[in-house]
Symmetry: C2
Subunit: 129 residues, 2 copies
């Protein structure tokens, strides 16, 4: 049997939330928002669907200082995030210089299979007023 990815109400609901937001949110945030708008979706289901979306590279995930994983719908391809500390609003940024620098430094020290994580945090204009 072919592995079918079903189009369930719950999955659509989770994706709908993500489509509306341009900030990183936790799984529990999404769960709360869904309950608020009357959609009944189990917490496990939210986690499962988010994991599926991450595996499909349709959303990006990162951890905040508290160790919570935050999710956000993102464009394809390698990029980094400029995240507002207050409201979580996020801008995707690219930095070719950084990529090449990281690779070069790693190779200099004999490291292979190089990957890197880079996030920039700050206070956005509307939050700093």
């Amino acid at each position: 049997m072919v592995e079918v990815v079903r189009n369930t109400r719950q999955r659509r609901a989770v994706q709908a939330i993500l489509d509306e937001l341009e900030s990183f949110v936790s799984a529990q945030d999404i769960h709360d928002k869904l309950r608020h708008r009357g959609e009944k979706v189990g917490l496990s289901t939210v986690y499962r669907n988010l994991q599926t979306l991450v595996d499909a590279s349709e959303v990006d995930a990162l951890r905040n200082d508290d160790g919570e994983v935050l999710y956000r719908r993102c464009s394809a391809g390698h990029h980094h995030h400029l995240v507002c500390r207050q409201c979580g609003r996020t801008v995707e940024v690219e930095g070719p210089t950084v990529e090449t620098w990281a690779d070069a430094v790693a190779r200099e020290h004999g490291f292979t299979d190089v990957a890197h994580t880079l996030e920039i945090f700050g206070t956005c204009r509307s939050c700093s007023r």
Copy 2:
């Protein structure tokens, strides 16, 4: 009243472990290593002392993919880490270009109070054989 930081046996033991290692380790790793060598130190104490050291900027902390916090004695000043995925061995690296780039990008988008996190992961020479 002067706030004294006491030099206890347990604190010295935790610092001793950190001094011997050049890889990132978890609090529980340290706890295990201490028990192995016969030092009896409570887990809470290990966590507390690590937190103190982080606050004093004497050790750096970062999270691995599993959400565990890893600790390592580090030199002062802003730097980044090149970490081996297999053995955890770490090289401190500096990248002035990255710093200025991150600041510039953030300011372009109206962000203030800018900070960033950057870690490079790879497989070190001895682990790739």
